[in-house]
Subunit: 208 residues, 2 copies
DNA sequence: TGCTCTTGATTGAACAATCAGTCAAGTGGA
DNA sequence: TCCACTTGACTGATTGTTCAATCAAGAGCA
């Protein structure tokens, strides 16, 4: 559990290599070179195996996944505030290079590794979905949103940002089909709110 | 360009292996074994290299990607019909095992291969997005939907199904957070339609 | 019918390169 | 001296790929 300079350097280099080339594409030799180490053998003094190094890299970056909903989002706060805050937090999170690379790593590796997929989902999108689901249910209870399946609503809302995040993080070729981020947030929140607002109630004007 | 039995068998086996283990994970030996071939060397009689075999596999499955919007979706058809049809077509498409495996292959490999990502996006999600974008713009023109950014609207609508498709195709661990497919389609179409419906000019104001 | 000759298809063996991982021999500070 | 740390050289296995040899089936000719 100790965290020396060398160990940290290796972890950092391994993260860069894994996220750029995938588990199989990144070799311990390339990781060693990226870490400024003379011999690949040194890696095996800190980590018993390549697989263990990979797991350590994952575990080192799991905590950052939980930060998306780390803010103070109350269950009773009004939807127009919570949804916009959540949307901006989502985009801001994956603007950070470390988080973006982590997302790419998950995307390429978790498919072949269901066991780590489970852990990562638990700490990342799972929390966001769980919070949003109970939040939507609560808002229906409060009469601020009309009755609907809150689970489907949560999946739908977060999913609306999936293409945008995918284009930023992993597939730049998608970018040409993507709208501006700010405009997208505005449109999405607007559609979602109007779509779930209680009918015929008091409502504010919507500007095109 | 000839398509003998052997060549087709190799392509099929390679598709299965690549989609299951990824490009690096699938070896020509395993592909040969899956194709019922004695020696891996035979593959090199039909394909000059492993990379060429991979490209051939991709090209062989590109056409099926265009089928999503292959149906007769008119620009003037009412939204409640078009959106539901589109949603069901989307889910039905990725229920087919071949399409699902193709999607997984794209997801895991296109990240490291921008050149093929571009082609695949062009034939797949790109077409869907392009159609939906012009369709939404047309509906705004017709006065059936209220003014909004049609590009963002299209991305949002298709994105709403991204988590569901991801859980089915590549990450089963996500399934426990997912709603029932039918209910999700209903909720999504409902939210999207209500969210973009033209506001009734006469609103009864109920002051709280 | 018999007999070569050609051609496409298939094979087992072997190639060089690279991989993850090991090992013995060091280094340098306490 | 001791011990945490570092190194270059090495190992055995696996990788994609090549190659010479072989097989089956005709084609042309007697």
């Amino acid at each position: 559990m100790e965290d020396t300079d060398r160990r940290r350097a290796i972890l950092e280099a391994a993260f860069a290599e894994f996220s750029a080339k995938g588990f199989r594409g990144a070799t311990i030799k390339s990781i060693a070179r990226a870490a400024g180490i003379q011999s690949p053998a040194l890696i095996y003094w800190y980590f018993p195996t390549k697989e263990a190094l990979f797991q350590a890299v994952i575990e080192a970056h799991v905590p950052v996944l939980g930060m998306v909903v780390g803010g103070k989002l109350a269950l009773d706060a009004p939807p127009e505030q919570v949804l916009e805050t959540l949307a901006h937090a989502l985009l801001a999170t994956f603007n950070q290079p470390a988080e973006a690379r982590m997302a790419r790593l998950i995307l390429t590796e978790a498919v072949q590794r269901p066991e780590i997929a489970h852990i990562l989902i638990e700490h990342g999108p799972g929390r966001g979905l769980a919070f949003l689901t109970t939040y939507l249910a609560r808002q229906v209870e409060l009469g601020r949103l009309r009755p609907h399946d809150p689970r489907a609503g949560a999946v739908a809302f977060l999913g609306m940002f999936a293409p945008l995040l995918l284009s930023r993080v992993a597939m730049p070729a998608l970018a040409e089909y993507m709208p501006d981020a700010e405009a997208h947030v505005r449109t999405v929140v607007d559609i979602f709110l109007c779509g779930l607002r209680v009918d015929d109630a008091e409502q504010e004007r919507i500007t095109p």
